[in-house]
Amino acid sequence: MPATTLSILLAAIAGAAFFLGKQRAFAVAGGPGNITKLHSLPGYHGYFAILCALLPSMLILVLWLVVEPRVLTALTIQSLPDAQRSMAPSELDLLVNNIRNLAAGDVVAGEVNAVLTNASQRIQELQETSRRLLAVTCIGIALLGATVAWRRISRAFRARNQVESVITGLLIAASSIAILTTLGIVMSVLFEAIRFFREVPLTDFLFGLEWSPQTAIRADQVGSSGSFGAVPLFTGTLLITAIAMFVAVPVGLMTAIFLAEYSSKRIRDVAKPLLEILAGIPTVVYGFFAALTVAPAIRNAGEAVGISVASESALAAGLVMGIMIIPLVSSLSDDAINAVPRAMRDGALGLGSTRSETMKRVILPAALPGIVGGILLAVSRAIGETMIVVMAAGLSANLTANPFEAVTTVTVQIVTLLVGDQEFDSAKTLAAFALGLILFVVTLGLNVVGLRVVRKYREQYD
């Protein structure tokens, strides 16, 4: 039975369960006029019936789909001639793959022989049986569930509480998906990083001054063992972040002050959405801009005054990143400034302060924690930013504080280490996970501190 038919049937059962459940609830109550005799409204009885019908059968469906391929593979292997069954596991894997591909009508590597066709026919048959069994089981369980629910309907039955607890459960499950995924990512990065640190000592990685991750990819290649001193990456990241903040903080802050205190409502109504649009531009576009416009412009300007500027410079990447971050800084600062109560402003004005005195002496100090929190979030954004630096900062791991030279950052190196065909257990690729871990820890720390500051400050006035 095709999947669509099964879904339609299940939906029909659910619909029927709802109406029958609701009807029975009415009947049990003794007609629509006596609904108050029921503990829960008839609708809840209906929903309860739906849940009883669908939840168990859905569970079975999911489990079945997870387990089915394994069982089928095992059965197929059993049915293979002895010659194939005694093959090495890796070759057997390949064979099974081919069988599956053939059964699914996909391209098959190598020639198609009798063994293969037989096996693929067998797997197709098995699949069909399995699906039929599945459909019958699902529908059976759905009907059973609906019947059980239908029989439980009574005046005292707490259908609403049951439905609500199931819904709560679903919500919790949904929110834990995101959390669990994050946890999974962290774990996988952590484990790969630990593997890396088995090959390269942590101290070498954290304090080494040279970064050249070119290791031999295959065992038979000659090549250096690579050096994994990440300091140049850290300094490169810091340099670019510093340049970016140097642009973003003053401009963003002044924008926020202007919008919050000085601009007329008309200007604010235009400027705020514009800034938000600026924040929505994909970073790759900023990357073009940095690489194609800003970097050459800086080099030309440098030549004009006799400074040698690399064609990919920290300055270009930092400037453009700064521009990218301006909206973030300005909108967070704007929030902080607006969160200062009007009473504070009026108090200062009422004492005869000018606007700028009010701003400098009362509002900014009061908003400062929020602004600082916002800046921390912006720093964390700058550190994690990838696309602009990939396109504009270069790849050479120079240990320098000169903004006119090319530098590279942690994120750029992660990208270059993992781009292309790689073996995932060489020190080179594992290094990416170590870098990722560092990046994660640093940005997480900044975010936690930043968000705390922002939130603590918000609570102060609410």
Binding site: S264, K265, P341, A343, M344, R345, D346, G347, A348, L349, G350, L351, G352, S353, T354, E357, R361, V362, P365, A366, Q460
Partner: protein, 287 residues
């Protein structure tokens, strides 16, 4: 507006019997809008918030060393009128003020008058205490600092101490001047705000329901303070408490829907209101 009735009868008050409000549909102010020693005088003041005509043709004089209480139902424009007197309405985009208000003979809405300087002369205390998120000392020192009233630190100390003293707060806070102003109790915060205002040495103090967030004891302290301050300042206080108006003020002005209905000596207003609306309000028949 035809104020002549009220104005002309100012001296002859005792002899004129006022008719009830229904016979006075033009809404002219009854009582006596004049003051012997007028310091602030508002003539035909109108305030609009966009299309909302919040203050209608108000004419009122306020004397030196006088406490005048503005009373009236919520939304009648008391705060709005108060805020006209030091141009705090300037910071509200939609607000528009017409008419003439003079302070010591000087038009405060004149083009060349700096509202910043005006506000140093006409201080304001708000309904909710709003100390700055700074220390107690810095709260009081704020005004003197921005206006350069103290030549050095010891003068500033002096001003801070006197102001706190006069606000009746010094005893309670003299050992904790470095603590944040927000760490004080509500009543103390309000007195801190008053100290902050008098530290600038204003000539007039506007108070917008200064006690509405306070308990009776803190209220009593602030009322005492108002009594004392009235020796040196003109004080205009908005209040919802008839008792408070009776206790602290020499004159009372009753506002209704943006109109100034009646102004008179406090004792007269409370014993013998001339206008029906005033009577209804003070006897509790209007909210």
């Amino acid at each position: 507006m035809d104020n002549e009735v009220a104005v002309a009868t100012g001296d002859a008050m005792e002899h004129v019997e006022y008719v009830e409000s229904d016979a006075n549909p033009s809404g002219d102010t009854v009582g006596n809008v004049k003051s012997d020693d007028a310091f602030i005088s508002a003539e035909d003041v109108n305030v609009y918030y966009g299309d909302n005509h919040a203050i209608k043709n108000v004419t009122l004089e306020i004397g030196r060393q006088q406490v005048i209480a503005l009373i009236g139902p919520s939304g009648c424009g008391k705060s709005t009128f108060l805020r006209c007197l030091n141009r705090m309405n300037d910071s509200i985009d939609s607000a528009r003020v017409t008419g003439r208000i003079t302070l010591d003979g000087e038009d405060i809405y004149a083009k060349n008058l700096d509202p910043v300087l005006l506000r140093a002369r006409v201080g304001i205390v708000f309904q909710k205490p709003n100390p700055f998120p700074k220390t107690i000392y810095e709260n009081v020192a704020y005004g003197p600092r921005i206006h350069g009233l103290a030549a050095n630190r010891s003068e500033l100390d002096q001003i801070v101490h006197t102001s706190l003293e006069r606000a009746g707060l010094l005893k309670e806070v003299k050992d904790r001047l470095d603590e944040p102003g927000t760490s004080l109790s509500g009543g103390q915060q309000q007195r801190l705000c008053i100290a902050r205002t008098i530290a600038v040495n204003p000539e007039v103090i506007l108070m917008d329901e200064p006690c509405s967030a306070l308990d009776p004891i803190a209220t009593a302290k602030i009322e005492d303070l108002i009594d004392e301050l009235s020796e040196n300042y003109a004080i205009i206080i908005v209040t919802h408490s008839m008792q408070q108006a009776a206790r602290v003020s020499q004159r009372v002005a009753y506002f209704h829907l943006g109109k100034l209905i009646e102004v008179d000596e406090t004792s007269r207003i409370f014993t013998n209101p001339q206008h029906k609306l005033t009577e209804d309000y003070i006897t509790g028949r209007i909210g």
